[in-house]
């Protein structure tokens, strides 16, 4: 290594005793590992204390009774996991997630890809449109929830959407307070669409730029003129890796939904829209049952891992990781 042979390296501060200095100079290996640990230390220490220890502690609490305390009071085995899995409210929250994912994942995927194709085929004002679609990424879920809940879909005649459907002679709809028909899904899905479409559009745009232009030229030579055929046989297959990445990111994001559900649905009287994370929040912080809360955390983690692996298997993980 050139590191160990360089003799011109000077210490920035003069050492107290020449013996220590000369030892220090003659020990490049020691100096190297000192530098390594000083640079890596803060991150490693932080990860251990704030990521790994919490997870281990959580594992211990999940097999213990820890009601209103963060210390285990008794070993209960898998009782917390059992209680959580058999808890109808927890099951309900998983159903909520499934319904939500069923809408939000394909819709975001298709619309983001569509927007990316539209923006990509524009020559003029391309940057402007990209910025407009990407701008909502800077808005928080809380702010967007306020706009959706109190102005766009407030269920009163002065809400924008009710005003618009009023122009067509329809009666105002109370979007958030009627469990049947479940109009609140429209509110919850559109708010997230607005917030995240731009993000996925950018990912697709990056993917589109990766496609070699020569392929389209070859298709042109072969007489493939229809845009749909070009998309079907060139663009979409070559977006495979991008698409898999997007699907996984979308599913994980949907699974961790909390902000907009909490801010839009709390106080509306409809409790069937509690997401898994919201229910964990209730168990952990309203009932202060950390044993069950932690058990729930690990069940959710297991489900996410399972989903990711399953998706990887369905679409071929090996190729997505190249």
């Amino acid at each position: 290594m050139s590191v160990s042979t360089s003799k011109t390296v000077q210490e920035t501060r003069p050492a107290a005793r020449p013996t220590v200095l000369s030892f220090w100079r003659r020990a490049p290996r020691l100096r190297r590992s000192a530098a390594f640990w000083t640079l890596v230390g803060p991150l490693v220490l932080g990860l251990l204390v704030f990521v790994y220890i919490p997870i281990l502690w959580g594992l211990v609490l999940s097999v213990s009774r820890a009601q209103s305390t963060i210390f285990p009071t008794a070993f209960v085995g898998l009782a917390n996991y059992r209680a959580m899995l058999l808890d109808p409210e927890f099951q309900q929250s998983l159903v909520t997630f499934f319904i939500f994912a069923l809408f939000i994942v394909p819709l975001t995927f298709v619309l983001a890809l569509g927007l990316a194709l539209l923006v990509n085929s524009a020559h003029f004002l391309r940057g402007f449109f990209r910025s407009v679609f990407f701008l909502p990424t800077a808005v928080s879920y809380v702010a967007a929830s306020i706009i959706w809940r109190l102005s766009l879909f407030n269920g009163l005649p002065f809400g924008l959407v009710n005003m618009v459907i009023g122009l067509f002679g329809a009666a105002p709809i109370s979007w958030l307070s009627s469990p049947n028909p479940p109009w609140y899904w429209l509110v919850l899905v559109t708010v997230r669409l607005w917030l995240q479409l731009g993000f996925y559009m950018i990912i697709f745009l990056a993917g589109l730029q990766e496609i070699p232009q020569a392929l389209y030229e070859a298709a042109q030579v072969d007489g493939v003129s229809s845009g749909w055929k070009r998309f079907r046989h060139i663009t979409f297959p070559l977006l495979r890796n991008t698409s898999i990445a997007c699907l996984i990111l979308l599913l994980i994001a949907a699974f961790q939904a909390f902000d907009e559900f909490y801010n839009i649905m709390s106080g509306t009287g409809i409790i069937t829209t509690r997401t898994p994370l919201w229910y964990l929040y209730v168990v952990g912080f309203n009932s202060q049952d950390f044993g069950r809360g932690d058990a729930g955390s690990f069940i959710l983690t297991a489900i996410i891992v399972l989903f990711t692996l399953l998706q990887g298997r369905l679409f071929g993980f090996g190729r997505s990781l190249e």
Binding site: S2, V3, V9, Q10, R32, A35, F36, P42, L43, V44, G46, L47, V49, V51, P54, G58, L118, H123, F129, S131, V132, T137, A138, V139, Y141, V142, A143, A144, I146, I147, W148, L150, S151, L156, P157, F158, L160, W194, I202, I203, L205, A206, G207, N241, T242, A245, C246, F255, N263, G267, L277, L280, Y281, F285, F290, D294, S297, L300, T301, V305
Partner: protein, 302 residues
């Protein structure tokens, strides 16, 4: 000394969002017209919520709740801003300050710790490099939101509930993994000649990190930094859990308490939304290229 182009699009090799010429693929004028009609309609839809914020923020409560739709305030009510900051129930001023402190420190800490570790992992040979890199990668796989109960337990054990460091430190580290991963990739490709030149000029390991690597990785640091700042400013669940005392509420938590208040003053609330969004929109306009480059990269993350 700049080895890499300052142009943010090129900071990650292989990804460029710049248009390539497509002259040879003729598109019909009608097709072009449809594309622009589609784009314009979508753009209008996307801008409606922003318009709503400004419209509602400048109206009186009577105007907003009027059953006839008004497109714009008769007389813009700038006084709503005063009302917002003098509201005793919702500490907007301290909320903004808390959010600014939290987002800034989270961003700085994340970039500093991640880039330091990334440099060591990429360039200082050690038999611990592999295991440590694995440790870092593993945290990328752990969904951050799922760890919030275990993390809260540590925070409460440290006595950090309702403190800013209780919000900052765990948030900082749980998303440090991805930053470290990206930086390491970047430093692996850093020209060795430059590093050797620095060493001949008398730089030690820290000198090389501070004087050579950091200045030459400003685009990627900015990309990760802006994304982390936005994420931190907008995060809700973690500040809600840790910030139990109103003095430690962030902007998002303050806004959220408005919704569940007994009586809502809609213009005041939308003024609050505007105030919470403006800093990010400004940041967004100046640094958009960096954000785009960073987000484009996350598709490759998989």
């Amino acid at each position: 000394m700049n080895v890499h182009s300052k142009h943010p699009d090129s900071i990650f090799t292989g990804i460029s969002l710049k248009r390539r010429s497509r002259k040879h693929l003729r598109s019909h004028p009608i097709q072009t017209a449809f594309i622009y009609i589609g784009l314009t309609l979508c753009a209008l839809l996307f801008l409606i919520p922003f318009y709503i914020i400004v419209r509602n923020a400048l109206m009186t409560q009577l105007e907003v709740t009027s059953f006839d739709w008004h497109w714009w305030a008769k007389e813009p009510q700038w006084d709503n801003l005063n009302m917002l900051f003098n509201d005793l129930m919702a500490p907007m001023g301290s909320g903004l300050l808390n959010s600014a402190i939290i987002a800034t420190l989270t961003t700085i800490g994340q970039i500093l710790f991640a880039s330091m570790a990334a440099y060591a992992l990429a360039r200082i040979p050690s038999r611990w490099s592999q295991p440590i890199f694995f440790l870092v990668l593993l945290t990328m796989m752990v969904p951050a939101a799922v760890t919030f109960i275990p993390q809260y337990i540590i925070v409460s054990e440290l006595g950090w509930v309702s403190t800013l460091q209780g919000i900052i430190v765990p948030q900082l580290f749980s998303s440090c993994g991805f930053a470290c991963f990206l930086f390491r990739q970047f430093y692996l490709n850093f020209p060795r000649d430059l590093e050797d030149a620095g060493r001949i000029d008398g730089l030690g390991y820290f000198g090389i990190y501070w004087r050579l690597l950091l200045p030459n990785s400003i685009p990627i640091l900015t990309a990760v930094g802006v994304i982390s700042f936005i994420g931190s400013w907008n995060s809700f669940l973690w500040p809600l859990v840790v910030g139990q005392d109103p003095s430690s509420w962030t902007v998002q938590v303050v806004l959220s308490t408005f919704i569940t208040a007994q009586t809502i003053n809609i213009p005041e609330l939308f003024m609050g939304v505007a105030v919470a969004i403006v800093p990010l929109v400004i940041l967004f306009f100046f640094l958009q290229r960096y954000i785009v480059a960073g987000v484009a990269r996350s598709g490759i993350k998989g």
